[in-house]
Amino acid sequence: MVAPARTPAYDVAAGTPDPEIPTLTIEDLGILRSADYSPGRGVVVTITPTYSGCPAMREIAVDVQARLNRAGFERVTVETQLAPAWTTDWITAEGHRKLAAVGIAPPSAAPRRTGPVPLTLGRSPSPRCPQCGSPDTRLTAQFSATACKSLHRCNACGEPFEGVKAL
């Protein structure tokens, strides 16, 4: 992906916290695609949904608008971009660090497929434990409290933890 252009409006929008995990910003998560000044339209912010049903999109759009308004940008339009589809590969290095710091295992590299999606039957690798660092962990459920996370348990320290699913 092409890194978004850094504009004054982008820097303000980039600080918007994610409603689900507010220590992460929408920039950390790769949700913010661009924020540019357009003559006649004001600031046009483009965000991309993580999952089709993500209920946070509306809240993020409102939050971005409010932040930019407070920073002095009066006319703000928030637009949705569907293609290319969001991938966990867009979560930044800072995003990975913050996820691990709150006990959520960051995602591995997203699968690069050629042709149809193969049936994997839950045998995807389980990530390193964010509590003790052990690689000896197991998947306990493909879905967790949100669609974007899975549930795991560490065989070394016994702690359950969540991981962001590679997508």
Binding site: P49, Y51, V62, A85, L119
Partner: protein, 310 residues
Amino acid sequence: MSTADMSTPADDFADNPYDLLAEDHDEGHRWAFGTGFTDPLEGVDTSVPDGLDPGALVRFCLALGDDALIYSHRLQQWVAGLPELEEETAVANIALDLLGQARLLLARAGGIVGQTEDQLAFFREEKEFRNVRLAEHADRDFAELVVRLLMFSTWRLALFESLAGVESSSGTVSSGTVSSGTGDPVLAAIAAKGVNELAYHRDYAASWVIRLGDGTPLSHAKAQAALDTLWPLMGELFYPDPDALAAVDRAAFDAILDTVLSMAGLDRPAAPPLAPVGGRAGRDGVHTEAMGYILAELQSVARAHPDATW
């Protein structure tokens, strides 16, 4: 001076990031009927490409959107009734993914005919819904839930791959740009997002069908009974649809289903598909008895308070 007064904004953020969220978020905008929730396709170029029949595109988007809306409703009815907490979160999340797909697809159709997603979801009559009858089936037990989900998600994943431009044999997924045989870039983009979600749904369903089929004699019997019950409803997925902008290769679908059934030790039923009624089935607005009850529950609040806002 209290400690709160001495703290800097940075301390506040470090202590409680939810404060920062509350600061941005003071007007209570939520996604719900009556809150003025905007079009999920806001800002997306939704013009219909030249050479595409807008009527057919609307009907096809309604078919796929209605499948997802009604299927999602059935899954939502399971919430708080599942055997394990892990299954609660899985089924609720799958229902949420399908609801999200329904919103995008109904918004795509509605944008062309000048209606909102809510108008299409809450104010159409039963005969105007285009979902297949498989979507409206009430699962009688967990075996039916996972067998039905395996059938539906295997078919829908293959269809969405086709819509997103994934070749069924040796082609490649184009990343960055969405190229599609459908000719509608919006539908292709919706499908490309859905593929990632449906892949998880299918794996979840397939894993459980194998665990039940290859489990105890009781779980095996229940899984086989579920398969026998649902098999006639599966055939409708493959009825020819003149409005369809993509189709699923039956042989590829069967190959996946047979792989799972063989690992599960389940027998492939031989029952014929449930016949249409006077040549008409779900896509033509002819549904099973269950559909009226679903719509009564789904639409009752919106119809009782059509102008409600909060």
